[in-house]
Amino acid sequence: MELNGNVPPGPLAEKWTKYKSSMPLVSPDNKRRLDVIVVGSGLAGAAAAAALGELGYNVKCFTFHDSPRRAHSIAAQGGINAAKNYKNDGDSVYRLFYDTIKGGDYRARESNVHRLAEVSADIIDQCVAQGVPFAREYSGMLDNRSFGGVQVQRTFYARGQTGQQLLIGAYQALSRQISLGKVTMYNRHEMLDVVLIDGKARGIITRNLVTGKLERHAAHAVVLGTGGYGNVFYLSTNAMMCNVTAAWRAVRRGALMANPCYTQIHPTCIPQYGDYQSKLTLMSESLRNDGRVWVPKNIEDAKAIREGKKKGKDIPEADRDYYLERRYPAFGNLVPRDVASRAAKVECDKGHGIVPTGLGVYLDFNAAIDRYGKSKAHSMNLENPSAQQIYDMGKAVVEEKYGNLFEMYEKITGEDPYTHPMKIYPAVHYTMGGLWVDYNLQTNIPGLFATGECNFSDHGANRLGASALMQGLADGYFVIPYTIGTFLSKEIRTPKFSTATPEFEEAENAVRERLSGFINNGGKQSAESFHRRLGKIMWDYCGMGRNTEGLTKARRMIQELKAEFYADLYVPGSMDEYNPELEKATRVADFLELGELMCLDALQRNESCGGHFREEYQTEEGEALRDDENMMHVAAWGWQDTSLEPELNKEPLIYENIKVAARSYK
């Protein structure tokens, strides 16, 4: 299949402006006649639904949560990037663009990323106007901090709850459109299929999660903002209900899944501690602004700590290895996520891990407490402050910056992170891969759009911190409201669709058959138990380190697990009631297929780039080794019929404005 990114012509910096001014428009009167379905109510979905409602389209918005305010965007902690250059530190649209392309290891489409950087500043303005209480300086101006992989301060934040505040802003904008009757909200509705009429996306099949009723919804276009698929690993920082089903159902109707193997393993999460564990908890990347990552230099010390005979604070300064500062002096503790994660794994594999499982490193705030304390003492004209005074004042500063994160850490681990350095380890966090989209965020199915984490568009092989919130809101507020017009402007004469068509009939029947198949399967094992086993296969063979042998083996194991799933799954209850076990079964079934595709994608990508580290391809120093000659493409997979092999389509990546180079943070 020929993949056309539909990138507008002209110089990179002018593409979006020119395109916006010349693209076909839909008049206000015609907008009122057009229906749009938005699936998902996180940052991308809620922002899109609100913005499209404001424009005058009739929007139906769907979420499987009990309220649109619950989407997992809410859990994002650290912040949102924008090229405002408020700090006068040399930031610009170009620099944000460049950092994002480089951070993504030169595997993202230039034009999309540049547009993202261009609209980033508007997002901040919009959110401030909505009443998002961003952190302020004493002057009343917006405050910024730094995130990994960049050398400027461009991250806006609201303590450690930026995602929550941005989502509430979008939720409020959405609520306003609901109250005005421009958006009809469907809570507790899960999308289980997309309906195509004459090759265009014209509706969806949903299940009312309270009554179990299957419903048909028609529209002129369908926008997915359904998030990422990190939960394929079972343990991740994603919320429990995050899943791939909406996107995967689109794949099964012909949409392409791009770069599914690009997953982000976040370096700073609370380490795993038991088999019953249901999820992993992230500790914001913002902590690396002030925290120093280290392990004991001596293996004996690490061993003693693991056995509980020593504590981290007993290790003298000279016996600590601040390995990120040592290996990457230019960026130090603020190297990008993929680099920091791999470095942690290297140290733990060498035996320097500091938790009983051996999989953990320290994140230490003592130096920051000391630095802030001394600065505070100086500003208060305190001569010869005591060590205790410095500590107390420094602790107060750290508390103000990261208080809620420290509290959360203490609740989960039962240990005070001011006294003892935090213990952290990488965990699955975000998926850069997703539905293939063109410049308009349209998938290869006309009328089907994908926004936010659910598309593959902007982050290449690795996402920089504080860029997910930026992309979700950019797509929702400032991109899709324009680009959807390129499709809808051709639909102004298309009358509203009836749901009493053979296409809806076929789709609803297929969903019903699938669900009743799960209910009547008559096996013994729960969906949860299969999910757990799938997650382990994925983590072991398609996680931080991947190789040909492991991936080949994993693919076979997943195929076997899938066969066992369909032979021995047990789902209690019935279809016509509130049934979380049934929901889980449909999601795990889709994860099983996605998991196999991820292994295949990782297998074909014969290079290491960003979050995808193939052990066969590394430099002598253990850094990722790309193959720009053969691998500079987007791998977009079609897998409509799973009885056949998936079909690989390639979209070449062309860099006209950036010099492709080895990615160095040294």
Partner: protein, 249 residues
């Protein structure tokens, strides 16, 4: 640790519901919801219907989890959601009573799952700033004092879980409503619509069947985000002020 659980089971909204007894083996590192996962896993493996409860992020921010544990919304630890409550706060052999949030405005859907959509409708009544996408001036045009932004943030930290309603003997939603009214009233961007907002949100709260506030302040004590009742005082000021001065008819 071995625990005895007394859990509210209710097939659907029409069912009368009753307590049922279960036993579960937990350990002190588990979260409360992981303990319930273990129970459900064992129920499913013996082909019994698991206990329905709501949860999602499991890091205390989405507001999905609920549960009244031993009579307290979100359990015994202050400033903590159910998902962040760990079993180290319980004792070997203890009997733990688990119920849904109870309020007329939060009907039970199944077992421990309640319908909190009344909160959405209150926000829809006016809990927003009416600014269309693209209308905003530069974010630094209006300076906002650090302390004011901080106070607004603290009110905006509400996760909409409904524990305040479950804690209140009158099932009042005043803490929830006041948190939103305060968040927006404190900021210059929220000023323009402040009067109308206070009036219409309070009106919708009454419509939904929430009770009156009688200053018991159990809401503040049980709020997992420790939202202050100071917000209720601010709401009352906003509301009374609006009643006298609003030009909206």
């Amino acid at each position: 640790m071995k625990l005895n659980l007394k859990i509210w089971r209710q097939k659907n909204a029409k069912d009368k519901g009753r307590f049922e007894n279960y036993q579960v083996m937990a350990n002190e590192h588990m979260s409360f919801l992981e303990m319930l996962d273990v129970l459900n896993e064992s129920l499913v493996s013996s082909q019994k219907e698991p206990v329905a409860f709501e949860h999602d992020c499991r890091e205390g921010i989405c507001g999905t989890c609920s549960l009244v544990i031993n009579g307290l919304p979100h359990g015994p630890q202050t400033g903590t959601t159910t998902c962040q409550l760990h079993m180290r706060h319980f004792k070997e052999g203890e009997t733990v009573v688990i119920e849904p949030f109870r309020a007329r405005a939060f009907p039970v859907l199944k077992d421990l799952v309640v319908d909190r959509s009344a909160f959405d409708r209150i926000i829809q009544a006016g809990g927003y700033v009416s600014v269309d996408t693209g209308q905003a001036p530069d974010g630094n045009t209006v300076p906002i004092g650090k302390d004011v932004a901080g106070k607004a943030f603290e009110a905006a930290a509400c996760i909409g879980c409904g524990a305040c309603v479950a804690a209140c003997p009158n099932a009042s939603a005043m803490l929830f409503v006041s948190a939103k009214v305060s968040h927006l009233a404190l900021l210059p961007q929220g000023q323009v619509e402040a009067k109308r907002r206070a009036q219409s949100m309070v009106h919708q709260m009454d419509e939904e069947g929430f009770g009156m506030c009688s200053n018991i302040t159990a809401c503040e004590a049980e709020c997992p985000k420790e939202i202050s009742v100071e917000n209720i005082a601010r709401l009352n000021r906003e509301y009374i002020g609006a009643s006298f001065t609003s030009t909206d008819k």
